[in-house]
């Protein structure tokens, strides 16, 4: 297992370099001059442009720029925006919010989704099954910006059960409703995924064997059926957490949460290349590590895919 993890960590290096290079090239390849409009209608003074060009190595060929940037990055320096704000500081402000929101969404989708999936599979076809299928289809069909706005208006504005706008530095309590909205889509997928996996395994030969051994139904389900059924679900949850950690542009936008999604979005709009590259590089790293975690979990759950 140790060698497996080490090998996977080594595999991260080329993936990391490849992805960051692509991001770097793409961001600086966006058409338009980053200084256009930066200094108001009269344009930036040549001295400023020269200084900026030198600071960001804009006169160098792209690969050189990239290597220089990467060197800074490894020293923990994410660079500065054109306004002179440290990108590292921006990330430090936004990331804890995203982390809280993602965790709330993840806990919600995992617990409710898996529970609903198991319940329907054990009850078999009938009312509960139809209810869950219809409810999850509804969640899948309604876009988050619709459900988000509806919940915001109904619970935030009309009933005043929650603050409609979250604002800076929110507590866990303020993020619960946005977290539920954010997690609802994946919750629906997890419920369906669990349900399907359980239904498949219910008829599996080894379940019949477990029953033939005279084990209690509880043990047959909780030990023999559940572990096999959860393998695909865990994979989904892991990759989904990776995605959630990349920020939620829509949910953050609706509830006015200053998370990482909003940061990237406004940076792209403002052609803040350094911010975009810095944040996205970090997100790539997080995503890769999440995937590694999923693979390790996967190997722990299913001995057939262990590397030795």
């Amino acid at each position: 297992m140790g060698r497996y993890i080490l090998r996977r960590l080594l595999q991260l290096i080329p993936v990391f370099i490849g992805t960051t290079f692509i991001i770097y090239s793409l961001v600086w390849a966006i058409p338009g001059n980053p200084f256009a409009g930066l200094c108001g209608p009269r344009g930036c003074p040549p001295a400023f442009i020269d200084q900026m060009t030198e600071q960001y190595n804009l006169d160098q060929p792209l690969p050189v720029q990239y290597v220089l940037y990467l060197g800074q990055l490894f020293q923990g320096n994410f660079g500065e925006t054109f306004n002179g704000i440290e990108v590292g500081t921006l990330i430090q402000q936004a990331y804890p919010v995203t982390l809280k929101l993602a965790t709330i969404a993840l806990i919600f989708e995992a617990i409710i989704g898996i529970a609903a999936g198991i319940l329907t599979a054990l009850r078999g076809k009938g009312f509960v099954d139809n209810l869950v299928l219809a409810a999850t289809l509804f969640l899948i069909a309604v876009p988050v910006f619709v459900s988000g706005f509806v919940i915001q208006v109904v619970f935030g504005v009309q009933l005043e059960w929650m603050e409609p706008s979250v604002g800076a530095d929110p507590g866990i309590g303020q993020l619960i409703v946005p977290g539920l909205v954010l997690g609802s889509l994946s919750m629906a997928y997890i419920a369906r995924l669990t349900r399907t996996a359980m239904f498949e395994n219910k008829r599996a030969d080894y379940i019949r064997t477990a029953t033939a051994k005279g084990l209690t139904p509880r043990r047959v389900v909780s030990v023999h059926m559940l572990r096999n059924s959860l393998i695909p679900v865990i994979t989904f949850i892991g990759t989904d957490f990776g995605a959630l950690m990349g920020g939620a542009i829509v949910t953050e936008g609706v509830f006015n949460i200053h998370g990482i999604g909003g940061l990237v979005f406004s940076a792209i709009q403002g052609q803040e290349g350094i911010t975009v590259t810095g944040v996205v590089t970090l997100l790539v790293l997080v995503y890769l590590l999440m995937n590694l975690l999923v693979d390790i979990l996967y190997a722990a759950l299913d001995p057939r895919i262990r590397y030795d």
């Binding site: 064997t209 029953t211 033939a212 005279g214 084990l215 096999n228 393998i231």
Partner: protein, 339 residues
Amino acid sequence: MSATDDGTGGSPKPRLLEVQDLHVEFRTREATANVLNGVGYHVDEGETLAVLGESGSGKSVTAQTVMGILDTPPGFATAGTVRYRGEELLSAKEERRRELRGENMAMIFQDALSALNPVYTVGFQIAEQFRFRRGMSRKDATAKAAEMLDLVKIPNAKQRVKEFPHQFSGGMRQRAMIAMSLALDPDLLIADEPTTALDVTVQAQIMDLLDELRRERDMGLILITHDLGVVAEVADRIAVMYAGRVVEESDAESLYKRPAHPYTEGLMESIPRLDQKGEELASIKGLPPNLADIPPGCPFHPRCHRAEEECRETVPELHELRAGRHSACHFAEELISRD
């Protein structure tokens, strides 16, 4: 249960397992398939009964009904009795049936790879029974599991308990499956095509092992197969099934010498034989009947070379021809008395 059939009042000892007139239906939205239509057989301690028949003849469904592991729905036992040492099982509570499973009757399956849980070690799956049925500690149970693997002649058992099913070869997996089924020392073992998925040399080893364990433990063994060759050496009696009925039941020797049902004849002729090289291999023409629409009369008549008017109209009952020989054919007497 009355005092006369519980085996305690000096009356004749009840059979280890006796199945009588068992009917099972598979109900789907489109149709109801009559999978079992009055199956009856019995097995005594220390005896090997081979249950023979094509796919879909109801061999496995009978076994699953006996074990109480029939998938319901779609399967429903609608009539008949299954008695274990005189105790009626079909009407017994599920909890009682669960107690019997593993402890008194056990079953092994055709494909050991899919019948073993891929995510737990072989040892865990054997030890599970000692832990949860006998209350042993994990450590003691694992030691017992290694003993069981040793019993079925798996080399290096102490190491192999820690391995997963996919790390075992096909034959070793079936051995592990046997070890698992025998963990709680059952009196009745049902082996559902235990060697079908294995290659020929391994088949013989597994059959020998089963036979040896049956003798040592004085178990009743029900051996389900579609392969007459496999059972020839180990079966005491043979029950041949067709379309959810037993059509012939006999001691093995007499059946091999002279089948009393055209279907059995057909099965025997379809075994390749070295002394008839070059001749075309006979097969039974046609297909087994659609169980949702079994033909009237003898269900085998559309495929039978001797079928006459009577066969199309009257269902032949399984009747005794000689001591221990039963056939469900109108012409059984002719079949066994010809030269």
